[in-house]
């Protein structure tokens, strides 16, 4: 565990993580399945255009997928989000999202629950890119809310 922690404070590793998630994004296909909730994120900016799908049943995020055209930060942060939240309960997911939002707000956060997503730790310093790191996360937030209605 300590080893992983050390790795996740090494800038070279974090840079590599973003690169990997950008070039080979995880869960990067949508499926035709009515049991999935779906959110198209395109109206916030005229550049990024992604769609996030989630299958949320019995209070658990059973599957999360996404597709679309987006920058490195949008793509990598969304890909990391799908890894991190798949299989989590809604309550767990909400806590992780909360910590992620704190990190993007430049506040104190719990790095342990964010795992690889700590690669986004410096994005808050570039105001024009914060939105990129939030696009996928805001999508899943919306889908969780929708599932609770």
């Amino acid at each position: 565990m300590t080893d992983t922690k050390d790795l996740l404070t090494n800038p070279d590793i974090l840079r590599e993580l973003i690169m990997d998630h950008y070039q080979y994004p995880h869960h990067h296909t949508l499926i035709e399945d009515d049991s999935y909730l779906k959110k198209h994120m395109a109206s916030d900016s005229c550049i990024d255009d992604i769609t996030v799908q989630a299958k949320i049943e019995e209070g658990i995020l059973k599957d999360i997928r996404f597709d679309g055209v987006a920058c490195t930060i949008s793509t990598a942060s969304t890909s990391m989000m799908t890894d991190l939240l798949r299989g989590k309960t809604i309550a767990e997911a909400k806590e992780i999202i909360k910590q992620y939002d704190l990190m993007l707000d430049g506040k104190e956060y719990d790095a342990d629950v964010l795992e690889e997503a700590v690669a986004m730790q410096n994005v808050y310093k570039q105001a024009n890119r914060i939105r990129c790191a939030l696009i996928g996360w805001n999508a899943i937030k919306g889908l969780i809310e929708e599932s609770e209605k």
């Binding site: 840079r15 550049i47 920058c71 890119r129």
Partner: protein
């Protein structure tokens, strides 16, 4: 005389940000001290509303405000009564479309192009929905320039308007406006020209071109924000109803609903205008005329060509408008998302724009959604171009991500 060093001294933003290379002039421009002084003068020495008061100060503000109309008329070679001040170019285009909607009917055709900015398309789209007019796109070449022969083939009695940007905002291509204007007039159609990207950079003589309507924006040509210029031939302005109704634009009205409008152009200026903006814009036009629009145009051509020659040989750069003489340098770094590349340039203090630049159907032409646009103005230098080129050479995904560490 075109004295670059002296010109640069006129711009506080250039002095206050020596680290910055500002190549986003297509979005907005810096302001010379004379413009800032004029705006400040309004706040510190001459604050009053326009066209309303009976006291000396108010009359002085009227004088300053109306003087700008005369300056702009001189700038465009038209009559002061043909110049209305709205709040931005977009509003001016909306005003024209709204005004013409009273003359258009189902089946009428508006010709435009896929290279247009949203403000010259969306208002027409609404007329299509409301009235059933038809919108047709003039065939363009790879650089977005309208093909005149193809345009001729599209003309008919049903074509009522050709609505086009003089210079397109993404590729900076110059449209054959004069020829299209002649063509439009042969068929009794109006020529509506969006001058947002042309008027700041070249001499535009509305009489010589015989334009029916021209719109542009103060802030893209060294003037304050919040001022759009609507030029229209007087008899045409008199035949389009104002988009916004209210104070300052009517002469009298009665309880039975009858309204007598003020004469043009005042009837298009409902509500208190951006008085200090208009006054400051007058100073901007004078500043540009003092340097000389031809001088500005020639220098920008030289600078653009200097920039283009250095971009052409770069193997990792897709250069979309290498053959244009003027306008922005529009490109992408292969395999790098435009916003990532722009983010890398930003980390080197180079301000450019990434995205689709409000021209969302242009991708049908150039095959990409997002580009990087480096847009120059006459106060930019070859040294700044060199710095930008050096940074462009270093654009890669690795470096774009490296910005965050």
């Amino acid at each position: 005389m075109f004295d670059l060093e002296k010109i640069r001294q006129d711009f506080p933003m250039l002095k206050n940000h020596p680290e910055l290379v500002y190549f986003d002039n297509g979005a907005t421009t810096f302001k010379p001290q004379v413009v800032i002084d004029k705006v400040e003068h309004y706040y510190t020495h001459a604050t009053a509303n326009v066209h309303r008061g009976d006291y000396a100060l108010s009359v002085e503000v009227d004088r300053l405000y109306d003087e700008t109309r005369a300056i702009v008329a001189r700038f465009l070679n038209c009559d002061a009564s043909e110049v209305a001040f709205l709040h931005n170019d977009t509003e001016c285009l909306n005003q024209i479309v709204y005004g013409l909607s009273y003359q258009l009917k189902k089946g009428d055709i508006v010709l435009t192009s896929v290279a247009e900015h949203a403000s010259n398309l969306l208002p027409w789209y609404r007329l299509k929905e409301q009235l059933g007019i038809e919108i047709k796109y003039l065939p363009v070449n790879a650089q977005g320039v309208v093909d005149l022969e193809a345009a001729k083939a599209l003309m008919s009695k049903q074509v009522k308007v050709i609505a086009l940007a003089h210079v397109t905002n993404v590729l900076g291509s110059v449209q054959p406006i004069q020829e299209l204007c002649e063509l439009a007039h042969q068929y009794g159609a109006y020529m509506v020209v969006d001058g947002a990207q042309s008027v700041p950079h070249r001499k535009v003589d509305v009489k010589a071109l015989d334009l029916d309507f021209l719109t542009f924006s103060s802030h893209k040509m060294c003037g304050p924000n919040g001022v759009g210029v609507l030029y229209g031939k007087k008899e045409l302005l008199e035949n389009i109803p104002p988009l916004v109704l209210g104070g300052g634009m009517n002469a009298r009205f009665q309880s039975d609903g009858s309204v007598l409008l003020k004469d043009v152009p005042t009837r298009f200026e409902a509500g208190t205008p951006n008085i200090e903006g208009v006054i400051g814009f007058g100073a901007a036009c004078e500043y540009l005329m003092d340097i000389g629009m031809d001088q500005i145009h020639n220098y920008e051509k030289e600078l653009r060509s200097y920039f283009a020659e250095q971009i052409k040989p770069l193997a990792h750069i897709q250069f979309y408008n290498p053959d244009n003489a003027t306008g922005p340098i529009t490109f992408n770094a292969k395999e790098v998302f435009a916003q990532d590349a722009a983010g890398y340039l930003a980390s080197k203090n180079i301000a450019v724009r990434s995205g689709n630049h409000c021209a969302k159907i242009l991708h049908e032409l150039i095959g990409t959604d997002s580009t990087i646009r480096a847009s120059l103005y006459f106060y930019n230098t070859k040294e700044e171009v060199d710095r930008c080129v050096e940074a462009i050479k270093e654009i890669s995904i690795e470096n774009a991500i490296g910005v965050f560490f």
